[in-house]
């Protein structure tokens, strides 16, 4: 039965490869996992590549919606939260502070400051616009 949620993967030709030995180690860190055929870390590597493309693309969307040129952990968190198949990551993103809500209209002075340090957890910004109800975003 075809899965209605199949979003076609963007066809990106990625030259850099994940270290296959490292992937195998991570796989076998699970005590239940015993021997794995040599091809399996190679397959997992390819799946991981596509997984990364999906996450990066969606995180980029979140950044663009907030008029930011810099993708932060908050953007990535949002991208993960709104996708059902990424539910397995719920625990990992729980500790990450939310990005500010995406405004309905792009604010005038929008970009985040270009600091190189990771931003410390901060309160969400003052809502912009006079009294207009913000789009409710449910996690």
């Amino acid at each position: 039965m075809p899965n209605p949620n199949v979003i076609p993967v963007r066809d990106v030709n990625i030259k850099t490869k994940f270290p296959v030995a490292r992937i195998k180690r991570i796989m076998q860190a699970d005590e239940d996992v015993g021997k794995v055929a040599q091809v399996t870390p190679v397959i997992v590597s390819k799946a991981l590549e596509m997984f990364m493309v999906a996450l990066c693309d969606k995180a980029a969307d979140q950044a663009r919606q907030r008029n930011s040129k810099r993708i932060t952990a908050g953007h990535l968190k949002k991208a993960i939260a709104i996708e059902e198949k990424f539910d397995f990551l719920a625990e990992i993103i729980a500790k990450i502070p939310d990005a500010p809500s995406a405004p309905e209209n792009p604010p005038s002075a929008a970009t985040n400051s270009n600091d190189d340090e990771p931003e410390p957890p901060k309160k969400t910004r003052r809502p912009r616009g006079s009294g207009r109800a913000k789009k409710e975003e449910s996690l």
Binding site: R22, R25, I43, F88
Partner: protein, 142 residues
């Protein structure tokens, strides 16, 4: 071979930051940057993804009464977990790997069947190269 379980004690159960950074660079357009905290979060997600797939594949292998996780089990796991869109490309990779292995084995067999040691084969190869070089130089001068 080192005991892979010892790696759990090390930080080695993660992906190399530089590699991940390079891949991010290949994925994103030039006008966007990826903050450090985002990258570190992404790495954690990747590791979790590997763990998820492995665990599911392991269960599938067990149901298949197999002690070793095979490529087919991993691909089935992807489908079970809702990553159907990854199946086509991973099947391709699996196929390429199989062919690569076959050609490797073929080369090995040819080498073994020649009855010559590796040193002898290298020597013969050097000889052939030498002759080809001479011929090339003569033609270049002529």
């Amino acid at each position: 071979m080192a005991d892979d379980r010892d790696a759990a004690a090390n930080d080695d159960l993660s992906l190399p930051k530089a590699t991940v950074q390079k891949i991010i660079g290949e994925i994103l357009p030039n006008d966007l940057s990826f903050a450090k905290d985002a990258r570190d979060l992404l790495i954690e997600c990747c590791v979790e993804f590997i763990t998820l797939i492995s665990s599911e594949a392991n269960e599938i292998a067990e149901k298949d009464a197999k002690k070793t996780i095979a490529g087919e089990h991993v691909i089935k796991a992807l489908m079970e977990l809702g990553f159907d869109e990854y199946v086509a490309a991973t099947k391709e990779v699996s196929q390429e790997y199989r062919e690569h292995q076959k050609s490797r084995e073929k080369r090995q067999t040819i080498m073994e069947q020649s009855g010559l040691t590796e040193e002898e084969l290298l020597r013969q190869q050097e000889e052939l190269f030498g002759r080809a070089r001479e011929k090339y130089n003569q033609e270049a001068q002529g």
